[in-house]
Symmetry: C2
Subunit: 327 residues, 2 copies
C-alpha cells in the first residue's frame, strides 16, 4: 500500500509528540523519517521508526537535550551532541557549517556524543539546497573486518559528498562496506544472490550469498584494502576532530550510540554549474553494457524515486505501518 | 642495484639544471622524485623521471611558470597553475593551504592548469609534517568505465587523506581504480595474476588477468558503483572549485596535462593523538587470516620501506638508472 508524504509525516509526528518530543523536534524528526521513505531509503525511513521509538522508550535518546558548541578554532567548531536525537543534531550541525561557509568560504562542525543520523544523504541534500558543497561522515559500531583480518574492527562509516545543481543535486552517500547488513537481509529475504561479491563464506572465499556473509560476519570493504583504509581514516577524522568516541569505543559499549560525526561545507554560490553538466553528459556517453541500460550520476535514482513517490504515494510495509499507527 | 637517496637526488637535480630548471625548482622536483623511489613508489620516482624530462623537452611543462592565486573567498583560494611542473605547483598549493589552516583552522586551495603531481601521498606527508590534516585530490584522463558502462569516461582520480602522528603519519593515498595501469603492467611483466579481480575480460567477466584488462580497457572502480560515484564527485569538486578542466576536457585534449586539483588542510595542533593510537591498536586486534600476517594502517608500509631504503639504499632499475645518467 502507499500513503502520502503528508500523512506519513503526520502519523510519525503524532507518535513523537505522544512520547514527549517538543513540537519543533517532532516535526523535524518526522519529516526526515518521511523523506527517507519518500526517497526510497525505506530501511532508514518508516521501517526504522519503531526501532527509534524503542530507543526513546529505553531512555537511550535524550529527546530534550540541546547540542552545543563547546569550542571554536577559526572556521572549525567542536560540538557536544549530548545524545540528542541524531537527525536533530545532524541537521543543526550541518546548518551551522552552512552558515560558517557562507561567512568564510568554508566551515566545519565536528560532533561528539551524536546519535544515529539515519540516512547520511539527508544532510548532503540539506547543504546542497542551501547552495553549499556538503561533505559529512559518521562512524559506527565495528561491522567490517580490515584487509587481512577475519574479525570486524572497522565501521562501515558512511561518507556523503553533495554538490548543488539546479536540475537535481549530485549526492553521493556511500558506506564503506560493499553492502550494508540491511541490504544483505533484503536480498536474503527475497531469496536472491547479490549482484557482486559482498563478503566471505565459511571457507574464506568471496561469495554473493547474503546468508553466508551474515553468518561469517565477514562483509567486504569496497575495493578491499582501499575501502578498509578509507574507513579507518574517516574514523580518525570524525573522532579526533570531535574528541568523541571512535569505532573501538562505540564497540566496547556494545550499542551504536554516542557516535562521532563531522560536517564540512564550502560555499558554492560562485561555482559554474556547467562544469557538473559537462561531467554528467560525458559520463553518460559511456557505451552501456546492456541495451537500454543507462549510466546514472550519484543522486539521480533518489530523485526519480522521489518524484514517483510524490506522485503515487510512498510504498509502506503494511505490518510496520499498522505497528506505527498503534504506537 | 641500490643507490643512496642523496646520490639519486643529486643526479636527478643535475639533469633538471641541464634542462634549464632554476636551482630551487630543480632541488624540489629532484627531491620529490627521489622521495617517491625512497618510499617504494618506484613508478612515480626514478622510473617516471625520463618521461617527465621528455615532457619538458617537448615544451609541455612550463618550467619557469609561476602558479598564482587568482581569487579568494574567505579561507578558500583559486589558483592558476599555469602548467608549471606538477610537483612544484602541488607543493606550494599545499603549503598555502597549511598557512590558511594555521590562521583560520581550515583552508583550501583549488588549482586549475596543474600538471601531474606524481605521487599524491607526497602532499599528504607534507601537510602532516606541518601538523595539519591534509586532504587532496586530482583528476586524470579518462581511464575507467562507470558502473554499467563499457568505455572509459571516468578518471581514477586519486584521493589523499593524511593525519599527523608522532610515530608515523596516517596517510591514505588511493586511486579510484582497484589497480592502476602501472600496477597491471607490473603484474603482467612478472607473469602473475592479480590478488583480486581488477577489471573485465573480453566476455565481460571479472578477471584477475592483468593482460586481459589492459586489452579491454575495462578497469574496475573500487567497489563497483561506489568508487565510480566517488570518482565522478572528485572530478566535480576539483574542476568546479578550480574552474579548471574536467576529465572530459582533459580527455578531449588527448594528453594528461592541465589537470585540476584541490588541497584542503585542517590545523591538527590541538588534536589528541591518543585517538589515532587507539584506533590503530583496535584495528590490529582483528584476528589475522593467515598465521603471522599483520593488519597495516594506511602509511605503515610506506614508512617501513622508507626506513629500509634509507638504511640499505634505494633499489633502482639499472637500465633506467643508466638512461638517466646519460640524460
Amino acid at each position: 500500500m502507499r500513503v502520502s508524504f503528508e500523512n506519513l509525516k503526520l502519523q510519525l509526528k503524532s507518535v513523537l509528540l505522544k512520547y514527549g518530543f517538543a513540537e519543533d523536534r517532532a516535526e523535524l524528526c518526522a519529516r526526515i523519517f518521511a523523506e527517507n521513505s519518500r526517497d526510497g531509503v525505506y530501511s532508514h525511513g518508516l521501517n526504522r521508526f519503531p526501532v527509534f521509538v524503542q530507543l526513546v522508550k529505553d531512555g537511550l535518546i535524550a529527546i530534550h537535550a540541546t547540542p552545543a558548541s563547546i569550542g571554536r578554532y577559526g572556521v572549525t567548531e567542536q560540538w557536544d551532541g549530548r545524545n540528542a536525537p541524531g537527525m536533530y543534531t545532524a541537521s543543526i550541525a550541518m546548518q551551522r557549517a552552512i552558515v560558517l561557509a557562507k561567512e568564510n568560504g568554508m566551515g566545519c562542525v565536528a560532533v561528539k556524543n551524536a546519535n544515529h543520523w539515519m540516512r547520511g544523504g539527508t544532510y548532503g541534500w540539506q547543504a546542497a539546497d542551501a547552495g553549499c558543497i556538503g561533505i559529512c561522515a559518521t562512524n559506527t559500531i565495528a561491522n567490517m573486518p580490515p584487509y587481512g583480518g577475519a574479525t570486524p574492527v572497522l565501521g562501515n562509516n558512511p561518507l556523503v559528498i553533495a554538490v548543488p545543481r539546479q536540475e537535481g543535486h549530485l549526492v553521493l552517500d556511500m558506506a564503506m562496506s560493499q553492502f550494508s547488513y540491511g541490504k544483505l537481509q533484503e536480498y536474503e529475504l527475497k531469496g536472491e544472490k547479490l549482484p557482486v561479491a559482498g563478503g566471505y563464506d565459511e571457507n574464506g572465499d568471496l561469495t554473493k550469498d547474503p546468508a553466508k556473509i551474515r553468518a561469517t560476519g565477514r562483509t567486504l570493504p569496497v575495493g578491499f584494502w582501499k575501502g578498509a583504509g578509507l574507513s579507518l581514516m574517516l574514523d580518525v577524522l570524525v573522532s579526533s576532530l570531535s574528541g568523541g568516541r571512535s569505532v573501538a569505543e562505540i564497540t566496547a559499549e556494545g550499542t551504536e550510540a554516542g557516535v562521532s560525526q563531522f560536517f564540512l561545507c564550502l560555499d558554492a554560490g560562485a561555482l559554474d554549474e556547467s562544469v557538473s553538466e559537462n561531467i554528467i553528459n560525458f559520463t553518460k556517453r559511456s557505451v552501456p553494457l546492456e541495451d537500454g541500460a543507462e549510466v546514472l550520476y550519484p543522486g539521480e535514482r533518489t530523485l526519480s524515486t522521489r518524484h514517483r513517490n510524490e506522485a503515487e504515494g510512498i510504498p509502506v510495509n503494511e505490518a510496520i505501518w499498522q505497528q506505527v499507527l498503534a504506537l
